[in-house]
Symmetry: C2
Subunit: 226 residues, 2 copies
DNA sequence: TTCGGTTTGTTCTCCCGTTCACAAACTCCT
DNA sequence: AGGAGTTTGTGAACGGGAGAACAAACCGAA
């Protein structure tokens, strides 16, 4: 399921491979640190940061230990320093160009989302197959034909693509993205995407989340009435 | 992290507790089965279904075994029968009323999302704190004041709430939801929510997903240039 | 310098999830 | 009826992650 190997480890690199579960939590820590920093906090303990991030403090410390020893025993972590270290590790110290394909209901919301810019991502293009969409300008970016994909990816060095088309079109869009050189895809369409090794796909599926909630909800109420 | 206990197991119930990882995959199987059914497929093997769902066939079989023995050895699974069994287990054979709070960019997209209805969820109310929103009608449902929450939850027996407000308002909205009787929350705001035991929270965070992709992307390109 | 208090980094153990591998069970053909 | 071929359901091995617990390291006061 995961993309492994292909990255030959050079000896000098600090590439200890960070567990996937830890990688998924680093952005949460990053956000918590940003909040703390904006609140004027200069130093924080693992307990405080863990609380702000909603995790166990032991887990937090273990996660951070994969990056290195950035804390001071008896004191805690320097908020801004740790924040930079995590940002660097994730790779959001500089902006990543992103394209969004499928500018319908969801695509509009994504294009208007300000959280992109503030977290290291820059929407360089909005693409849609429907010619009627091509006159529109969303959040300062104009909607362009889907066929412009290759050129845009090449021009801006885009590595990350977002799919917000109907499910039926998702696989085709993914194929075109991969062919254009995109190697990371965030998929909002309720479809299972098939991509070659070396390409990462993450999916966000609203219906699945709701169904998981429904399952637990059913258990709760079922137990109450039984 | 998880809400445990509180549900006393009565002996007659068929409540073998299904692993959380399996619960998260059942909706994926459900969708794959629906697709197969619509394509006219009457029977399918674990291999076929696993392929359609994008998972390992052994994992699929083990997952399904938690529900019961709904397959036939040497043959496979009856698509419609299995689909019904999974739907029943998840609890989406009847509709769940849902409220959405925060009808901005994202809230509009969610309200317009047709995938709700088709998967067992019905949006019974759209709520927003901004009075200027209250004249609007989105997807046939009119936007109402946030203070109507308690009454709507009571009237419709709402158990599931969706938060699409700015991060700063999310905790307040969650508190009001819980106080109103909602016990499952889907949170789109980038904030860590604190809720009492017995309330389930799931979060969908676009920025985190992108940052995880960026991390792996950085590794890929970094390995190439080194 | 020494000592008490604090907090990190890490080890160890346990649990959950994944995957392999195979016996049991079913169909179909002869 | 019997045997060959197919597919499910599950036992067992394995790997990874979560959490408890503690030694090492640091600060500040005396
Ligand atoms: N709206 C939501 O809140 C929501 C929530 C979860 C998931 N989704 C999923 O996100 C996707 C988009 O949802 P939506 O509500 O925005 O749908 P939509 O129909 O409003 O928008 C889809 C857009 O994709 C474009 N499109 C179609 N085929 C294309 C192609 N081959 N190449 C490029 N563009 C193409 C269409 O022209 C349209 O503008 C769907 O798969 C939906 O299931 C939506
Ligand atoms: N737009 C996106 O694509 C996107 C993607 C990921 C996450 N998010 C997150 O989703 C949330 C909503 O994003 P958005 O772009 O729709 O923002 P938005 O500002 O367009 O909409 C927010 C809405 O919430 C309402 N609101 C504010 N405080 C409220 C309160 N206390 N009670 C009820 N309603 C309240 C506002 O009136 C507004 O209509 C944000 O937290 C954002 O970070 C958005």
């Amino acid at each position: 399921m995961e993309t492994r190997a292909l990255t030959a480890r050079t000896s000098t690199e600090s590439t200890r491979d960070i567990p996937e579960a830890t990688v998924a939590r680093l952005p949460v820590y990053l956000r918590a640190l940003t909040t703390l920093s904006e609140a004027g906090t200069g130093t924080c303990s693992s307990e405080e940061l863990a609380s702000a991030a909603g995790v166990n403090s032991a887990k937090l410390r273990k996660d951070l230990s994969y990056l290195g020893s950035y804390g001071t025993r008896g004191v805690g972590y320097d908020v801004d320093y740790l924040r930079y270290q995590i940002a660097r590790e994730i790779g959001v110290t500089q902006d990543w160009p992103v394209v969004i394909v499928g500018i319908g209901n969801l695509g509009h919301a994504l294009a208007n989302y300000s959280g992109f810019r503030s977290r290291g991502f820059r929407v360089v293009a909005l693409l849609d197959a429907d010619p009627e969409r091509h006159e529109e300008v969303v959040a300062g970016v104009d909607v362009r034909p889907f066929d412009d994909l290759e050129q845009i990816v090449k021009d801006h060095g885009v590595a990350i693509g977002v799919i917000a088309t109907p499910a039926l079109a998702a696989q085709d869009v993914a194929d075109r993205m991969v062919a254009s050189g995109i190697s990371s895809i965030l998929n909002f369409a309720p479809a299972v995407l098939s991509v070659p090794a070396g390409v990462d796909v993450r999916k966000v599926d609203l219906s699945i989340e709701l169904q998981i909630l429904a399952y637990h909800e059913q258990r709760k109420t079922h137990g109450a009435t039984a």
